[in-house]
Amino acid sequence: MNKSTIIATFVAVTIGGTIAFTSLGLAENDDTSKVGETSKEITIWRDPGCGCCDSYADYLETHGYSVTRVDDVNFDERSIDAGVPAQGLGCHLAEIDGYHVSGLVPADIIERLLTERPDITGITLPGMPANAPGMAPEKTGTLKTYAFGEDGVSVYADE
């Protein structure tokens, strides 16, 4: 192989490699956007007097969600009808992409739910813990979220 051929080959390999690497990178980025893309459309039914529910809706909006807020004084009955255990009602009921989300569930847990897509009806964060988003600007400390569905109740996240 003469010098010019070596150089040409090197250039071709370099250019080809660059193109391939770039293309692979672009494809990888494209795949990432598809895998990580979950619904951001969420509807919240809440007691019109619930201030922390509005704060929670604001929190979700800052995390990129489009929130539809519905006044419903019977949201607790709606929650039970949706399958949320009466012993573990959150302060509102939300629906997103086929799942029910009860209470002040942090955004990263919702993301996980929509990414993992377990065979459950939904998740709930009972009550209104002081360290939950909506009660605080962001989650602090540990929160225990429960899954509920036909198979009963289980701990979905405790972190």
Binding site: G49, G88, Y146, V153
Partner: protein
């Protein structure tokens, strides 16, 4: 209806009382006049206040009854263990009247408060300047300056497909998990409660019920108050957070765990109850129109009767 009688406390009977009772004398009914609501009760230190269209103060230490000039027809009464002499009254004519001297003198404070009868009153367990008032047909109001000014805190609870007036209120010194404590309320449709940040009215629930469901273990015991009965009066024991007493048509009920499990203390239609500020076993209640006292947590009752 016959006129309400507030008979005096028998000193002899009082001094003769045994370990299970303060008094051992017969009672006369405290039937209300048509124009006066059922009497309400409150302890101010060791003294018992009985209020309706007038106020009577029983000094239980020596059995001395005292008639006081009330602020009007009183429908609700609240006192506070940290501020002896403070008596807050909800008036049938509207407004809240406050006494700083145990009911001797009164000042009505209603700036900003909605018009309407004040059905229920509570003083925050940890803050005698924080008052709550339930206005008939309106909602729950609060004052952070001892009644100086009022603002709406919460609409009435929506229970069984309807809004319900609050018949009674109690500030219960149990943490909500939200940085505050609970306000319990009795309604015609039963018991409800709201955190003092006023997120929403909600049922009383045992704290670890979901963990029991998740683990498959036996869920914590629950024994709510009987369904379909009005909760006419509530009293929270200042000396023992979590101990609650409730007056219902089916009798007097008691809970030691913040209202998850209730036990039946006494038969008879109960319309009022109060608990001593320093001793959760010392009770006063009106049952079947009789004013009765217990000093053993409701195991034994005796009636205040004419001297």
């Amino acid at each position: 209806m016959s006129k309400i009688a507030y008979p005096g406390l028998s000193r002899r009977g009082f001094l003769a009382a045994g370990a299970g009772a303060w008094l051992t004398v017969a009672a006369k009914p405290l039937l209300a006049q048509a124009t006066a609501p059922d009497p309400v009760l409150g302890f101010d230190g060791d003294d018992l206040l009985v209020a309706s269209d007038r106020i009577r103060r029983y000094a239980l230490t020596d059995g001395t009854p005292q008639n006081l000039s009330g602020p009007g027809i009183v429908q609700a009464l609240a006192t506070h263990p940290d501020r002896p002499g403070l008596v807050v009254a909800g008036l049938a004519s509207g407004g809240v009247s406050i006494s700083e001297d145990g009911g001797q003198t009164w000042e009505t404070r209603a700036t900003g408060l909605a018009e309407g009868a004040v059905d229920a009153i509570a003083i925050a367990a940890g803050n005698p300047d924080l008052l709550y008032a339930a206005v008939h047909g309106d909602g729950l109001w609060k004052s952070e300056n001892a009644g100086g000014t009022w603002s709406l805190a919460m609409d009435r609870p929506w229970l069984e497909e309807a809004e319900h007036d609050l018949l009674t209120l109690a500030s219960v010194d149990l943490e909500t998990g939200m940085g505050g404590i609970w306000i319990y309320a009795g309604t015609e449709a039963g018991l409800t409660r709201v955190p003092d940040c006023f997120c929403r009215w909600q049922d009383v629930q045992p704290g670890n019920a979901m963990d029991a469901l998740a683990s498959g273990e036996t869920p914590p015991a629950e024994f709510p108050l009987p369904k379909g009965e009005p909760v006419r009066a509530l009293a929270a024991a200042p000396s023992a957070p979590g101990i609650l007493y409730a007056a219902l048509p089916s009798g007097l009920w008691m809970s030691a765990d913040g209202g998850v499990v209730w036990s039946h203390l006494a038969e008879g239609s109960a319309s009022a109850v109060a608990v001593h500020p320093g001793n959760a076993d010392r009770l006063a209640a009106i049952m079947d129109g009789h004013l009765k006292l217990s000093r053993d947590g409701g195991a034994n009752w005796v009636a205040i009767a004419a001297a």
